[in-house]
């Protein structure tokens, strides 16, 4: 995530969209962890989503 944050900082204004789909069920925890890591790219809440059900299996 640190690397992706750097990628976002380096290229976000040049047409690159960096985004995460959080699968953490506890949104407050996810928010806090992202804040601690200094993440400011777009983070979507994917917990319980059909998209996550289909793709988030890694």
């Amino acid at each position: 995530m640190v690397h992706l944050q750097r990628f976002h900082e380096a290229h976000g204004d040049r047409g690159l969209l960096v985004f995460a789909i959080s699968m953490e069920a506890d949104a407050a925890r996810a928010i806090e962890l992202n804040r601690e890591l200094g993440v400011d790219y777009l983070v979507l809440d994917g917990a319980g989503s059909a998209l996550g059900e289909r793709y988030a299996y890694g």
Partner: protein, 269 residues
Amino acid sequence: MHHTHCIAVEVASPAVGRAGYGGWMRAAALLAPSLLALACASDDAPVGRGARARTVSTGEVGTDLDPFAFETSEGERIAWSPSAGLEIGGERRRPAALLVHVFQPDCPACADEARALERLDGDDDAFTAVGLAHRGGTEDVAAFRSTTGARHPMATATGSEWAQRWSRGDPTYVVDRGGRVVYAQVGFHPSDVAVWEDVIEDLRAGRDVRRTGPDRPAVSEGERLPRIELPVLGTGNTAVIDAPGGRLALERDGERRTFRAAVGFFSRY
């Protein structure tokens, strides 16, 4: 530690330029849980140059599990062969259902699966679970076992010929008494536990099983990804990532912005 899957693409159409799933830190992809990537259709964007799409291991259903022999993180021999069955620390058994979890020690989804395996009933002649790591050494496996609290035996198969064939996608196999792979899946989702229980029960009851795991779509170069419409974490406001008319765009808070390319991933948090 967080690991992500991601794809970075630059293509002339909203399609994926590189595939990756269930693996860890490969090429430009960072690992797990899963990943998505979008590329915009920009007239001046270069043509995509992604890597070859990987295949998953679920094609192994119906084949015989290759023999293996490794050392567990506790220093015991763990081996499987059609002739001798399963051996763990000198004890031999031939369970009706042998579940082999192929994993990576730094994979959060693998850790979830290892914990989930502990909820399955039994470690006996009817059912046994073993974990074989295809990355990392004995110390990594020992740490993984300790962290997850899993008690089933684990060993490192890193660098082995066995792992070269059987590890793609961090798969899980269920093998019958004769060594035939009757079930295979890639990755892990909590809903898999119920499927495992069904398969194991069928094998215990002597019923024939030939089953692949849940549809785990591979994201391959040239494929279009689905429209993403989800709330922004912490705000509840919906954001939409889509590529109508071939232009990748993000719409949120009433504003729309187009992009040349995107990197997206499923995150643990």
